[in-house]
């Protein structure tokens, strides 16, 4: 029996972008990290570009699929690292939804890639921290790490945002499907 799935242009778009995000995600997981839980999160560049070019739904699909498939490939599926990663992705996607709605409703206050990237990185870090605190390490000492972690989130959010901006500058206007 041959099974055929009807795929849309949108499906292919999501698949390609997710593949790109996964490649970055895995390349990055090979980098050593000075503090546990701190990594640049460059795959979020893809999420931000998706959000701006193709809208929130595509960005959400890419972010969640990236966490799912990335964890299967690295071998952390359903582990604490996966839970933290998923919580972070959900939180950043949620805050990006709010940011996008505000940007659409009030263009004066619209966020560019850098603003979006920073709020996403901070939401990501807050969600991870909250989950780590409630589920894995319910120790007040963990809060000593929060300022450092948030600083890293802001710095990496800024860097990702700048990268996203540069990529967006090179994408021709008429690419939208």
């Amino acid at each position: 029996m041959k099974l055929t799935l009807q795929t849309t242009r949108q499906d292919h778009l999501i698949a390609w972008l997710t593949a790109l995000a996964i490649a970055i995600h895995i390349a990055e997981s090979a980098l050593p990290s000075p503090i546990p839980g701190v990594k640049p999160g460059l795959a979020n560049v893809i999420t931000i570009i998706c959000l701006i070019q193709f809208g929130w739904r595509t960005a959400a699909w890419v972010a969640i699929l990236r966490v799912l498939v990335g964890s299967l490939l690295i071998g952390t599926f359903l582990s604490p690292a996966f839970a933290l990663s998923l919580a972070g992705a959900c939180a950043s996607i949620a805050i990006l939804y709010v940011a996008k709605r505000i940007s659409d409703a009030q263009p004066v206050w619209a966020l560019g890639p850098i603003g979006l990237s920073i709020v996403a990185a901070m939401a990501h870090m807050f969600a991870q921290f909250w989950l780590a605190y409630t589920l894995f390490i319910p120790h007040a000492g963990l809060f000593q790490l929060l300022p450092v972690l948030m600083t890293m989130a802001v710095v990496f959010g800024l860097v990702s945002g700048i990268i996203a901006q540069h990529v967006l500058n090179r994408i021709p206007e008429k690419l939208n499907p």
Binding site: A110, I114, A140, F143
Partner: protein, 123 residues
Amino acid sequence: MNVQLSRGDMIVIAGALLLLPMLYLHYWGNASHGEQIVIRAAHQDAQYYSLYDDQQIHIAGPLGDSIIEIKDAQVRFIHSPCEGKQCIHTGWLNQDGQIAACLPNGVTVQVIGRDARFDAVNF
């Protein structure tokens, strides 16, 4: 490098730069001050004391009495029958999680916060 910042971006960056020092102040200031202490001695139940009741506590160990002092929301060993006096040299403790131990006499004192159920979950 041409990086365009919208007004929204500026607000986000300003907010983040405002938030970070507040976090440092709040969590690296005096925020995680302990609430009580727990003294554990060999072959005895753990004993809990408030960090806010100034007192001296005598704990009997295999070598003799260790004396622990609670004063001004801090705690320290002031006397120990051991040789190295590591416990005394540890000095004052007041932050949640800090610990001083006299291994020869089998006595430890640890500052704990309000909600210490377990240290960590490991996988």
